[in-house]
Symmetry: C2
Subunit: 184 residues, 2 copies
């Protein structure tokens, strides 16, 4: 990773800015590489030089926001960070994720092309975190439960619920309850 050339950096900015706008403006699943290139005033070749596909651009944009939450989970104050009982931490995690989703569904939706969700680094992080919490709560088979408990946070589920009139607040409440009743 040597130093980035000035023109390259300039283009990277233009691309990310244009992409962010596009994802917010229209159905993120219909945004194409061509769209982004045009909006950024950049050739398609330039785009492909850095990002293999649309999803990876959305992921790059999303990562920034996820980083903050990941940091809080690891060393922030309870109940998000260490110190609170596992079920409380799980509830807090749910709440934080719902808030994150609420602000950035468009990006999250854009980042999903098929099973892409699970290969992204972030999912692995959430997974590891939930598994650790479940283990601490002495629940049976944390490995199997973790993905099941993360599934409600899938962007398309969230988008669907919101569209149906389930507010983030109600969802948070429902998930908090779910977290608290886990195994006794």
């Amino acid at each position: 990773m040597t130093k980035e050339r000035a023109d390259a950096a300039r283009n990277r900015e233009k691309v990310l800015a244009a992409a962010a706008e596009l994802f917010a403006a229209k159905d993120p699943r219909t945004v194409t590489m061509e769209d982004i290139a045009r909006a950024a005033g950049v050739g398609r070749g330039t785009l492909y030089r850095r990002y293999p596909d649309v999803a990876s651009i959305a992921t790059a944009l999303l990562d920034e926001h996820e980083k903050a939450l990941q940091h809080e989970l690891l060393q922030g104050p309870p109940p998000l960070g260490p110190g609170a009982p596992p079920r409380e931490r799980l509830a807090a995690f749910y709440a934080a994720m719902v808030e994150l989703l609420d602000r950035h569904v468009h990006l999250a939706l854009g980042a999903e092309t098929g099973a892409r969700r699970y290969v992204t680094g972030a999912y692995g992080f959430w997974r590891a975190h939930v598994i650790a919490l479940l283990r601490a709560a002495e629940v049976a088979d944390p490995d199997a439960l973790a993905d099941a408990l993360l599934a409600p946070l899938a962007p398309d589920v969230f988008a669907y619920q919101r569209e149906r009139g389930v507010t983030p607040a109600r969802l948070t409440a429902a998930l908090a309850e779910l977290a608290r009743v886990l195994d006794r």
Copy 2:
């Protein structure tokens, strides 16, 4: 819906058979209309006459299998059908769905292009069923919880877990526990 012409019926059979084979043979998400037409020995126009896209063909194939389960939920013996306590019925539902998924993931994956999952008639059925159970169990906000509880049954989640080594049996056990601890 007048009577179907003989040649049309013949072609419908050929198409469904060829599609079933294709979905099972390769990654269902990469099956194309052209593939199916070629495999069925049928023109592309013929395909489009009946099915607007690949997903709807997979859905048609899947529906057949889902119908049976839906019937059992409505009027089969407990614990799947009416008569058992709601949490037991939910656990049984989970078990049945996992088994269904295990047998037909390829179809379920083929049926999913983006948010297609939620517009299909089947999802609405599962949703209504779970909501009814939650209401009977006197859980708070069944509407918000239902989608969350159905999320772990998303085909891509199932496929991912299985690929990771979580057997259907373990998944069933984990979900059963989840169902039983709901709200107290």
